[in-house]
Subunit: 405 residues, 2 copies
């Protein structure tokens, strides 16, 4: 009897989990051994983390147990941290031991990128995962509680600097706009003491979005009291705040009790040690999602880099694309096992919507620009769709967003 | 026309607010000018603060607006901090200005007493008021969130030291016993990493309580994983933890991310500057609650010291006694204004119940010892009664405890 091939999937993010869910749908128990390794025994919605970080959504709401979506007769789940990937020896080392494979799927997600700016690693918080998001929420609440209690009040405790005016930064600011009035009420803080400042090195907000939508987003956030400092790179972070470059020889130091760095992501650092060619730990994958030079290694999600040839720029690292890659990765794995040719992955971009709080958003969906409640509704549909695609109707009902107004 | 006398009431705790509520019931708009000065525009249930500190009750639930219980045509409320009391010049200075009076009622409550132990003022948290309680909750949550996130885990973050095995310390431990499992669940912390240790200088727990009840309380708290170190005074607190004296020349340093000091209270420091004779800012009041030597000054609540002559020890500073003092103070003020003799205050002790979490308690009520759910039920009735006496049925329904099981 021929030994079943082993498919080892690293990471239970959108890409890895979509791969596993699609494999288990199409394959029988005897066809293949599927092993899924993930640091936590839960999947989290990384596109919802800004809500957990602001405190507008409970951390519990943004995650669900992996056991809920895998068929345990078909998939062996290992809760462990991946420590090394040896694509030549076909061996992965994790905190649970060593794992060999016939096919490997790398879906290890993103890490924050601080571009070597001194102090950011140490003094800025990052919306990197559910634990980090939860700590941001607690950090901000602690600052408010402490300000309220202390005799000599350090107003800079109530200053929140958000580094980055990209997708994550703007969505986080939108949630803060909703959350700050609640925090003021809860902790007896006068609203005018709170300062939320978005600092961005680039001269623009939300690059890639339609200018009209960007203008709407900035106007809405400003109406919630959020300030912007655009074209002013952060050059240093300290325990007291950040130093901004305002001109050739002009700098400004802004004291802040909370600094959240939401500018720039990179792939997982383990990629850099594999020998596979990469840029900031992202691999420019072949058309069928395999790593160049390794026919048994697929890369999905934020560690995969694909160029949109229409505009000659990389596709953004989104959940939408990661899940589509998971589908295609599963199909191509099955094709390989059957000795059939693999297929080319082509993203099907349905649009992109950035939320601006619980009832507001901007974006394009099905070719239409939209703002406000309509866009917000659509955003929640998109969020629920991700749940549905991986976990089905039951999970969507349990964890979905139905405050649709 | 004769000028209306001015009654100035300092503090909207149980004693001050009971005085005002009783005065406004008995007096007409033209009889008197009543001015109430309080730091916050809300009253808080200081006997519930341990719940807000542990996080088992929301801070919002332990307070209500003063405007809800005063009649604004009869009582002028001034939100200000009292800064000085000059009983000779009959003048009080607050952050809102100067206030003269014909009669003064001092109900400024307790402060924590650290007995000069080095570092406690700076590094230990105190369940002193609603803001301080709220910060304790946030502090503990922040420690749990940070432990969960950090790569190299400092387990001492999850150690909570409670200084004091008196009423407040024990009640706080009871709430922690309920709260810790929730925190472990919420922040992905294994329960065996958490350590809650009660340290007490005296060789006993809950002095004044029946030994059988004390034994029950300690057993119940231990079953929730709480440890006790009795007869071991804290001799120093540092940012890293506390140093305990374990023998003549024997000391132990215990690292802890959270130190809560719940041992010992004193009266308000302003009392010490009045020239009125006092012990740790508490005044041994006359039988009619007036300050010795000052016929126009009443003292109620925790700043008043009364000796229980049956046992030749002071009555404990409780809400029950403070509210009874408020009643009597109002009666005696009215008597003075009418030129009638004042009456002697005799506490009517209905019992004392210490909670051990949401469903457990020990105590004596109406002469009966009780433990467990029965005592817990009685405790909630006592808590609701305080709301009812000051704020009536509406307030009790809104803020009361009805999880009576």
């Amino acid at each position: 009897m021929k030994k079943r091939p082993t498919i080892l999937v690293l990471g239970a993010g959108y890409g890895g989990l979509a791969t596993v869910v699609n494999l288990q749908k199409s394959l029988g128990v005897d066809d293949v051994e599927i092993i899924l390794i993930n640091k936590n025994d839960y999947h989290y919605e990384s596109t919802w983390l800004h809500e957990a970080a602001a405190g507008t959504l409970k951390p519990e709401q943004v995650r669900y147990p992996i056991s809920r979506v895998i068929q345990q007769d078909k998939v062996k789940f290992v809760k462990a941290e991946v420590q090394a990937i040896d694509v030549k020896a076909k061996m992965v080392t994790s905190s649970a031991g060593q794992h060999t494979y016939d096919y490997l799927v790398i879906g290890l997600g993103f890490e924050g990128e601080t571009f070597g700016i001194p102090g950011l690693d140490k003094y800025a918080l990052s919306i990197a995962n559910v634990k980090a998001a939860r700590q941001i929420r607690e950090h901000i609440e602690y600052q408010f509680a402490t300000w309220s209690l202390e005799e000599v009040k350090a107003d800079s405790r109530l200053t929140i600097i958000v580094g980055g005016a990209g997708f994550t930064g703007i969505e986080f600011l939108g949630e803060l706009g909703d959350r700050i009035p609640e925090l003021c009420e809860e902790f007896d803080v006068p609203a005018d003491k709170v300062k939320v400042l978005c600092v961005e090195a680039a001269p623009m907000v939300l690059p890639g979005f339609d200018p009209e939508l960007v203008e709407y987003a900035v106007r809405q956030l400003k109406s919630k009291g959020i300030e912007f400092s655009i074209g002013t790179p952060v050059v240093e972070a300290t325990p007291e705040g950040v130093k901004l470059k305002k001109g050739d020889d002009e700098f400004e130091f802004i004291e802040a009790g909370t600094v959240v760095w939401a500018a720039g992501v990179r792939g997982n650092r383990l990629i850099e040690e594999t020998g596979i060619e990469n840029m900031r730990a992202r691999v420019k994958v072949e058309k069928d999602l395999r790593a160049p030079g390794y026919d048994d290694v697929f890369i999905v999600g934020d560690c995969a880099l694909m160029i949109n040839e229409e505009i000659n720029r990389p596709y953004p690292p989104t959940a939408q694309i990661a899940m589509q890659q998971g589908d295609m990765c599963a199909n191509n794995l099955i094709a390989l096992m059957k000795g059939q040719p693999t297929q080319t992955f082509v993203p099907d971009l349905k649009g992109s919507i950035a939320s601006l709080g619980s009832n507001d958003a901007i974006g394009v969906a099905f070719g239409k620009k939209m703002t406000g409640k309509k866009a917000s509704f659509m955003k929640k549909m998109v969020d629920n769709r991700a749940l549905y695609l991986i976990g089905g109707a039951g999970l969507t009902l349990k964890k979905g967003k139905f405050d649709l107004l």
